[in-house]
Symmetry: C2
Subunit: 154 residues, 2 copies
Amino acid sequence: MAARLDRIDLKMLRLLQKNGRLSNAELADQVGVSPATCHRRTQALFDEGFVAGVRAMVAPRKVGKGTLVMVGVVLDRSTPESFASFEQAAAKLKCVLDCHLVAGDFDYFLKIRVGDMEDFNRIHGDQLIALPGVRQTRTFFVMKEVVDNAALEF
Amino acid sequence: MAARLDRIDLKMLRLLQKNGRLSNAELADQVGVSPATCHRRTQALFDEGFVAGVRAMVAPRKVGKGTLVMVGVVLDRSTPESFASFEQAAAKLKCVLDCHLVAGDFDYFLKIRVGDMEDFNRIHGDQLIALPGVRQTRTFFVMKEVVDNAALEF
DNA sequence: GGCAGCCATGGAAGAATCTTTCGTGAAATT
DNA sequence: AATTTCACGAAAGATTCTTCCATGGCTGCC
């Protein structure tokens, strides 16, 4: 871990990860520094890339994306061009939350959010198997989200 | 999708999802309402659960969690008790970002962040195969994160 | 040991923002 | 058509942010 982070920086990162809307005054109070120092440190953490961004976590079910599906993908060929064009196309799909090149029985793993199974079936036929170079896909419907997108512990 | 959301609510959610630190004044300006109305609407979106929270996205590599691993898990037995105890234990692991009960060749899929392969190997031996009821695990090292934790599109 | 340079800190103050109250007007209902 | 309901924007006090400045501790070098 970057040794540039002292105890206060780590505490700030953990607090902001739990609640990105903490005001500077509250954060300063909780980590035990003045608002001025807190403001400078926070800005430094952002400037130096420790915080990639701050995001409101929209509740998936509330916006019609309550169904989660994991999909393993195998490509036709294992050429750099084949990988590149698949990645480029997959990254454009609105339903794709994760797309990872993996080692193992699959080439890629996708994490996808859709409205329901019917929605997924349509997307699978229209978009997934239509991705360039796809030989086969294996679908794992998520029946229960035990932990989804947990905060990073460090 | 909940029809309770009009065009302004949707725009606010999308903007806050991209930048959770948008000030109320900026948000109001971008969606074309007064700060007062924007404030009321934002608060309502939070109160009604459309926004589950706001989170600073800490850069994994910056805090020593640069390696991503997907793990498929098969349990010994398919009893409710077996599932429950596995879930309870898995949810406590600090490295687990996702833990999903799935339909298919695996019982669970885990998404895990660690420092490096050596770190994973240790965790695999100490924590993963030690989870209650685990018959076998299949590890998929992520070689390239094409899309990780993309914002929800709705 | 002493001294100079460097850096982070906290106080303070102006500027900006938030948050609530109030009155208005539009839309739906009776 | 009257009434109720609802959301809206303007305004203002309170809060917060953001920066400047002086202080104090730490390091490195006489």
